[in-house]
């Protein structure tokens, strides 16, 4: 016979295990939905299928490409091999300049057009996001 105490313990452990499994499942599920992948313009060119999910694009802001409208700006992100046009409306960080590195977050419209809803701030003039640096380096090979 299993005593009452042991029974209680088994139920407790069972529920503990169940809730752990549930929690892990929950976490992994929302991870899958909420991660944002980082791509370079070249990687977007080479995508076999355009994703509908949010992505980040990194590269350099092309010289003479910034156009300023009343409520939005347009510019081109380049990795010196391929480029993508970006439409953006929102706050623009101080260090956003032509010829400087940039990371934009948003949705791919087609291989040459991207609508951004966030431009990530940088804190340092000489700082280049490592993703951008790497994206530029791989393209120079």
């Amino acid at each position: 016979m299993i005593s009452k105490k042991v029974k209680l313990r088994i139920t407790f452990l069972f529920f503990l295990f169940l809730s752990l499994v549930l929690i892990v499942f929950l976490i992994l599920k929302s991870l899958e939905e909420n991660v944002v992948y980082f791509k370079s313009p070249t990687e977007i060119q080479n995508l076999s299928e355009l994703t509908k999910k949010k992505v980040r694009i990194g590269g350099m802001v092309k010289k003479n490409s910034i156009e300023i409208m009343s409520n939005e700006i347009n510019f081109v992100i380049t990795d010196y091999k391929n480029e993508i046009r970006v439409k953006y409306s929102g706050i623009i960080p101080n260090l956003f300049e032509e010829g400087k590195g940039v990371v934009a977050e948003g949705f791919i419209q087609d291989r040459r057009f991207f609508i951004a809803n966030k431009i990530l701030a940088k804190h340092d003039e000489n700082y280049m996001p490592p993703e951008v640096k790497e994206a530029l380096e791989t393209n120079n090979d």
Binding site: S30, L31, V35, I91, N126
Partner: protein, 624 residues
């Protein structure tokens, strides 16, 4: 010259650390009641030399001694005096020296604090703490010596990143470090208590003020960083779920759990192993925070240098400490059959456990969100980031049960409590919180069913914590902290729901409408300060009631290094913050302007300060 002295005293400290470990190990078997004078003397000497070394770096910074490479990289003659001082810890090398200083200082204070305690326990704590100190000393000397030379001596330094030149950020690292390093002492003393077989009420009574102390500083340190992000980064938020923010939040969850558990250990002599595990976990999280931030794995303003050898060193050291802790735990952990962890379902012990489960859940969410991208990049070379929606989605649903449990928890009695059949006050409180939530929502444009439940639950918590003030069985520090926490939660929620923002590109003279407000860009003027030039904007916001607010946000262009920053102009009152920040887009002509309306912002800061104040009262009480 001064750098030589600083460097040599660090070497002395290392020798002392070895000496202390060896001597303490030798004296452990000694039954003497008096703490060995010899060890006390060496620890005092060690403290003296660390302070001396730190002062050397301080003097080098203040006197702009550019022969020192750390000073050269991070300072400048034109920098204001205050920031020359804060520059000492505004860089990798100096901040580690500060870590070390606090480590040694805390050990010294611990010895003073435990005059009447068991010698073996004290010596063991000294050994563990000195192992940590030794690790940091070697780390500093081998990989990041703040006293390295540069030759020929440059005439001028490179300057401190301007966005770090800010009062809140100047004191943020020391405050946060006191919190982090405080957990090292909890770690050392809990391992000592395990070996000494004294994980009991008495130990809990002695160590709990250190737990509270670390918790207070960690709380305030996180708040300072958050305030800074709010007004300096110009994004208008105060928490971004950025990995570097997360690494400070993780030990906070753990420490908050420990803060509650240690009271159970004190009152009921239970949850022994769990307390030890929490102590070890808290310190490991503080260490890995330092590791993740300093190694350059996480990229942010905190990442001073990208030197892989540093990361490897901290990681190895961290694993060594965790390994050591696990071994100690396995060998010495007593399997005490007498104290049972079988609690009554309705008792304060269970209430504390429930708190711990929630804390552990929040901790795991943040932990996974923070380290998952690192692992994914290592294994698949895929670069990802985990954004705020992840955290919000996983945490917010659990807040409702958390608030409800927290409303009842404090009033449950120790050992065994009885459930009253009908509690009329509770019903009144419950109904009134629903009514208040309803009133709030009918007066707003937002109407999500879920957020109304969330608000109702948090109002329920506020009302209950308020009611607790009349309870005789709850202590005053707890009343204050729990009430402040409920206010914090409520203000964060209301702030999140009612914040409004407006963003546009504007020229001087432009006038734009935003909901019921008009924003006018009246002009700009130029000015020059000691180490920067500035552009001051003149804005006017007129609301529907014809009240006007004037804003003068600034764009500063620093001389060295040449970086521009935006200084937001924030008008604060008891009910809301109004916030304008602008950045330069093109040729001093077109600007990107952002206006934000943030309700109850000030209450977020006030409630965190009150939360820490509750903790301070507890320390004063326990210290007696």
């Amino acid at each position: 010259m001064i750098s030589h002295l600083g460097s040599y005293s660090l070497i002395f400290c290392t020798i002392f650390a070895f000496l202390i470990i060896l001597q303490s190990a030798k004296l452990i078997g000694n039954q003497s009641k008096i703490f060995p004078k010899k060890i006390y003397t060496i620890i005092t000497l060690q403290l003296f030399f660390v302070i001396f070394s730190f002062s050397c770096l301080l003097i080098a910074f203040v006197s702009s001694d550019f022969s020192n490479i750390t000073v050269y990289n991070n300072s400048h003659t034109e920098k204001p005096f205050f920031y020359k001082i804060s520059g000492v810890w505004g860089n990798h090398e100096g901040s580690l020296l500060l870590w070390l200083l606090v480590l040694v200082l805390f050990l010294f204070l611990f010895i003073l604090d435990t005059k009447n305690y068991d010698n073996k326990y004290k010596l063991l704590t000294v050994i563990f703490q000195e192992i940590i100190i030794l690790g940091f000393l070697l780390f500093i000397i081998i990989t990041s010596n703040p006293f390295d030379y540069i030759f020929p001596v440059p005439l001028e330094g490179l300057g401190l990143n301007p966005i770090l030149q800010d009062p809140a950020l100047a004191i943020h690292p020391p405050i946060l470090y006191i919190g982090y390093v405080g957990t090292s002492l909890i770690f050392s003393s809990s391992l000592a208590a395990v070996i000494n077989n004294t994980v009991n009420s008495e130990w809990a009574k002695q160590i709990k003020k250190w737990v509270f102390l670390s918790w207070i500083f960690l709380t305030l340190g996180i708040m300072l960083g958050s305030i800074w992000a709010y007004y300096e980064l110009g994004w208008g938020g105060f928490w971004f779920w950025d990995p570097v923010e997360n690494v400070s939040l993780m030990p906070w969850f753990c420490l908050t759990a420990l803060l509650h558990t240690i009271l159970v250990l004190e009152k009921r002599n239970a949850l022994k192993n769990w307390t030890i595990v929490l102590s070890i976990a808290t310190f490991s999280l503080s260490m890995s925070g330092t590791f993740l931030v300093r190694s350059g794995i996480l990229n942010s303003i905190h990442t001073f240098a990208n030197d892989p050898s540093r990361g490897v060193f901290i990681l190895t050291f961290l694993f060594f400490l965790i390994f050591l802790a696990i071994i100690v735990l396995f060998i010495y952990s007593e399997n005490d059959k007498k104290t049972s962890n079988n609690f009554n379902i309705l008792s304060k012990e269970t209430a504390v456990l429930v708190n711990n489960w929630f804390m552990m859940y929040f901790l795991s969410v943040v932990l996974i969100g923070t380290i998952y991208p690192i692992f994914l990049e290592v294994f698949t070379n895929e670069k990802i980031s985990v954004g705020p929606p992840f955290y919000q989605k996983l945490m917010i649903p659990f807040l409702i049960p958390f608030f409800i449990f927290m409303s009842f928890g404090p009033r449950v009695k120790w050992i065994n409590d009885k459930l009253k059949k009908i509690n009329y006050t509770q019903i009144i409180v419950f109904i009134s919180s629903l009514i208040i939530a309803y009133i709030i929502f009918t007066n707003s444009s937002v109407s999500y069913l879920f957020s109304s439940f969330l608000i109702a639950a948090s109002i329920f918590l506020v009302l209950n914590s308020l009611r607790d003030f009349f309870s005789k069985s709850i202590q005053i520090p707890q009343k204050i902290s729990h009430f402040s926490f409920s206010i914090l939660i409520l203000s964060i929620l209301l702030n999140g729901i009612y914040s409004e923002e407006f963003n546009s590109n504007m020229k001087v003279g432009d006038e734009l409408k935003f909901i019921d407000k008009t924003i006018k860009f009246k002009g700009i003027n130029f000015d020059e300060k000691d180490n920067y030039k500035l552009l001051r904007g003149d804005f006017e916001v007129i609301d529907s009631g014809k009240n006007t607010l004037n804003f003068n946000p600034e764009i500063r262009i620093y001389n060295q290094p040449v970086i521009s920053t935006s200084e937001a102009d924030i008008k604060t009152n008891l009910f809301n913050d109004n916030f304008i920040v602008f950045t330069l887009l093109k040729d001093n002509e077109i600007f990107n302007v952002r206006y934000q309306h943030k309700p109850f912002m000030i209450w977020i800061w006030i409630s965190i300060i009150m939360l820490a104040f509750g903790g301070t009262l507890a320390v004063i009480k326990y210290g007696k």
